[in-house]
């Protein structure tokens, strides 16, 4: 009987086994890469301007832990501010836009086209507007970078509702407000989160690059550029590693938030694997 059978589902044991099967090669690859990197650098005496050894980077990280961490705090503040500003603005414009489907086509086209432009080029303008050491000058660039994907995706999510779902709501004599709340908003959530995940990466990139144009002396991008110019490559690489970890962490947090807010997510995730 189909009543007692789940269409999909695995036993917990199988879950653990697949998790091991999935992560083991990943971890092994990392170890192999790190190990051979260390080996090659040591054996061939590779100069540190090409790549420093992992051990060198890690000792640099430990030596300047305090500096790197306080720089990270500044950078994280800029990233979060930019992400929130860009996301809020993008969602707000998308909500307004979805009320006028006739206008949304041209506006989305414009947004997609503008998004092809190298937005980081705005960095010096924002530095001049808000001041090089002001958080807003970095967050502003990040916000513009986040704004476009959020706008485009959220508008699409609000408008690209399945016609069957629309007919169901119509057959129930739902008010436009009810259609918006019960159908369009939940439908747009996965689109929004895809954009937010992309945006979390973009925000980090925007901030770091804008900091290459100059920024508060205790910011991560400034630190990396400065150490590379000195040149103290181990320290520059330590900064790069932390910046990478930041990007990964932010992406992970956004994904976690997605899972918490969308408990039905598994249907979406399974559908494209």
């Amino acid at each position: 009987m189909s009543t007692t059978q789940l269409a999909r589902g695995t036993s917990p044991g199988a879950g653990v086994r697949t998790a091991v099967g999935r992560f083991l090669p990943v971890v092994l690859t990392a170890l192999v890469i790190l190990g051979s990197w260390q080996l090659v650098v040591t054996v061939f005496d590779v100069p540190s301007f090409i790549v420093p050894a992992p051990t060198g980077i890690s000792s640099a990280f430990r030596a300047e832990f305090g500096t790197i961490m306080s720089a990270s705090v500044v950078t994280v503040q800029e990233v979060l501010l930019g992400l929130v500003l860009g996301a809020v603005a993008g969602v707000a414009v998308a909500l307004a836009l979805s009320r006028f489907p006739g206008v949304s086509g041209p506006v989305l086209t414009a947004a997609v086209v503008i998004n092809c432009a190298p937005i980081v080029a705005l960095a010096p303008i924002f530095n001049n507007w808000f001041g090089v050491t002001n958080l807003m000058s970095k967050a502003g660039v990040a916000a513009v970078m986040v704004f476009f994907p959020v706008l485009v995706n959220t508008t699409r999510g609000l408008l690209q509702v399945s016609s069957l779902h629309l007919e169901i709501m119509q057959s129930l004599a739902a008010q436009p407000r009810q259609v918006a709340l019960m159908l369009r908003l939940p439908n747009a959530l996965p689109y929004l989160f895809n954009a937010l995940k992309l945006g979390s990466t973009l925000a980090v990139i925007g901030v770091i690059v804008t900091e290459y144009f100059g920024g508060p002396s205790n910011a991560l991008g400034v630190y990396i550029a400065y150490q590379a110019a000195l040149p103290r490559f181990e320290f520059a690489w330590a900064g790069i590693a932390v910046a990478s970890a930041l990007g990964l962490l932010l992406f992970g947090v956004t994904s976690l938030l997605e899972r918490l807010l969308m408990p039905w997510h598994e249907s979406l995730h399974d559908s494209d694997s």
Binding site: R22, P25, V26, L28, F49, I50, V103, G105, P106, V107, A110, V112, V113, I114, C116, A117, P118, I119, V120, A121, L122, P124, I125, N128, W129, M136, F148, P149, N153, R156, Q160, V161, S162, S163, N187, Y191, N194, A195, K197, L198, S200, T201, I208, V209, Y212, I224, A225, A228, A229, F233, A236, W237, I240, S244, G247, L248, F251, H269, S271, D272
Partner: protein, 317 residues
Amino acid sequence: MTATRTATTSVAAEGGPAGQADRATPRRSERLSATRKRVHNAAGAALVVAVLAGLWEGYKALGRAVDDVVPGTKIAFPVATDDLSMPHVWSILGALVEPARRGDPMLLGSYLLGETGVTLRESFYGLVAGSSLGLLLAVLFLHVVPLSKGLMPWLVASQTVPLVAIAPMIVIWGGKAGAPPWVAVTGIAAYLAFFPVTINTLRGLKSPPKVQLEFMRSVGAGRWQVLGWLRIPAALPFVFAGLRLAATASVVGAIVGELSAGTGRGIGRAILTFAYYYSNGPEKLYAAVLVAAAAGIVFVQSLALIERVALRHRHTR
């Protein structure tokens, strides 16, 4: 595969989760109306840009009128509206047809176009090199499963990492190797371009439905025949989506690379120079940024045009 979807998000939300009903093959009349819609959208997009320019001038006029403070309060406008912070749209456009430097007859517009040409050449070489590498890697990952199992998660994770952060290092490698700066810049562009191509291509190569793969098997097609006649044609739309992302990334990479390079030519250098002499002529910086943006857009859109021609017989969504 969450991050995989992220890669295509900005350009192709069509691949989004909403289940779309099957549509019949578009007829002639429908294709015509699609063209009309595209023209309508393009005209609308131009209008949007005009509206943005209007908003700029409106904000500036408003700020001028109330002296950059919200009336009745002490709340300052977030951005000052004097000519130094926000030059008029017409003075930015006007700067393009004025001499770039005093005592030099060359116009700013042609100077910027020349620098942009340098940047676009670096971007183009980077795009070609990076996407070739990306395509090869995708085919390799398809056929060597252990390799893809170990490396794919790292590639996907690396998408979430600020790759441009290592731009200063690449410039240093180039410098130590005695290569001219544009080589390093091209390297950064290539480095940024190859990720989206790899991931989208791999996704495309895996996109043919089971029934098509089983059919190829049933007629005894070998691995390379399946690749050439089924997987690669099926992957093309995905490849182009990846290429469009890669094109954007390669322009960003080239500009960031030029910043880090410290010497050499390119629009990134021009932007940095005008930022340095900002107070002497703010509209020059704006003009440079505008030209850089326009160049990026033209670069990516010409790729989109090639895509449209290459995929003209495909069922368009």
